[in-house]
Symmetry: C2
Subunit: 240 residues, 2 copies
């Protein structure tokens, strides 16, 4: 179901990804040659933990969750991919027998472009600049995961949720910002490794304290200073 689209439009869209932002038109053209379109209904699986990793992805539309399953079927979301982001690039360098370390499933109807591993490695050889972009993007992910581990182990559920809320504030907004949750609260709970019930309770507590107001997926920040005090923002910021 590919809608007609000019090359320029495609390039523009690709460049939304960190990984591709710096590429020349020529390099993008190379890339685009090996690219395939995929549409995925909400709830459908893109790949599973342990499967051989032959492709990586660029998300054009919709939401995709990356998650692991525990023995009892419990699910922990590692990351929620939003449009304009690439994912599973990293795994391609685990050697020939690289395998996906997580499951990927569409949260809402999604459209993606997929790239073949071999193809991409070939491009990398010819255009080492891309390799540097890739290194940067992996660094960022690495850093993010370390932050997640810290927050999971050193901070309690309230801290994690408040930190998450603060991260969601659109940049540049100064006074009483509002947050629009883009994913169901249950998904956020999983990302923060808490139960939906606990998430509810913490929000209720913050509401009672006058720190926020909640109305469905809209959260109004009433007392941002108090929230920041709650997380005692450490020297460096908690970028995600």
């Amino acid at each position: 179901m590919m809608t007609p689209m000019t090359t320029d439009e495609r390039f523009g869209e690709l460049r939304r990804a960190h990984l591709f932002a710096e590429l020349t038109d020529e390099q993008l053209a190379m890339l685009a040659r090996g690219m395939h379109e995929v549409a995925l209904d909400a709830g459908r699986t893109l790949f599973r933990h342990g499967e051989p990793a032959e492709r990586f992805f660029f998300l054009r539309e919709g939401l995709v969750k990356l998650f692991r399953l525990g023995p009892d079927g419990a699910e922990k979301i590692i990351e929620i991919i939003k449009p304009g982001e690439t994912f599973a690039e990293a795994v391609m360098f685990m050697g020939l027998k690289g395998r996906y370390p997580v499951n990927a499933e569409a949260v809402s109807d999604a459209r993606l472009w997929t790239f073949n591993q071999k193809n991409f490695v070939e491009i990398l050889r010819q255009a080492p600049d891309i390799a540097f972009g890739l290194l940067a993007s992996m660094s960022r992910r690495l850093h993010m995961l370390v932050n997640q581990i810290e927050s999971l182990t050193l901070q309690n559920a309230t801290y994690r949720l408040v930190a998450y809320l603060l991260e969601q504030i659109p940049p540049g907004v100064k006074t009483s910002p509002e947050i629009q949750l883009t994913t169901p609260k249950s998904a956020i709970a999983s990302r923060l490794a808490i139960q939906p019930e606990t998430l509810s309770r913490i929000l209720a507590r913050l509401r009672q304290g006058g720190l926020i107001e909640v109305e469905g997926p809209r959260i109004a920040i009433r007392d941002i200073a108090a929230l920041r005090r709650l997380v005692q923002t450490p020297p460096e910021s908690h970028d995600g």
Copy 2:
């Protein structure tokens, strides 16, 4: 206080690191030109979370822990570096203003080689093969962190400890293996995000169950099958 050492010996030692294993003598020579020796007493800090990252490291001797501190000073060890491993390579690609995402401190007296970032990036440009090695090594770390997150969120303390013990079994040993803990138990507890008291209690429980025997830092596995059953090894292995 550098002891005299032939070039060959140095190259041999460098090649113990994944990252350098595939390099030619020429490439190693380039690398070695920008390399400096550092000795670090036990307990001394190598770098701190948030400092500008200008160098990365190869550990020759001793142990180094990478950790984060919570607001209250609680410490979570992210990784324990062992001789022959490199660390902090990844952060160099976070852009010019890259900062260390963790603290690094010597657990025991340590000797390291340090490499300058600019220097190394220069080498990468000339020898793109190294970049691929770096990508692979970062992939591995990424994968490892994802596994840690899974285990922290989806598994309980006993599971984590048992999984850790199973990982420590020297490869190739079949019958009633013995594990020599190389770090104090308190450090292991921190790596697994549990308190030393809890670690003690779990070990005691496993001992009472006849699964292991503990004598100080030596742990004898009595019933490896039962241990494996405890962690119900998922489809794919939990490499660390």
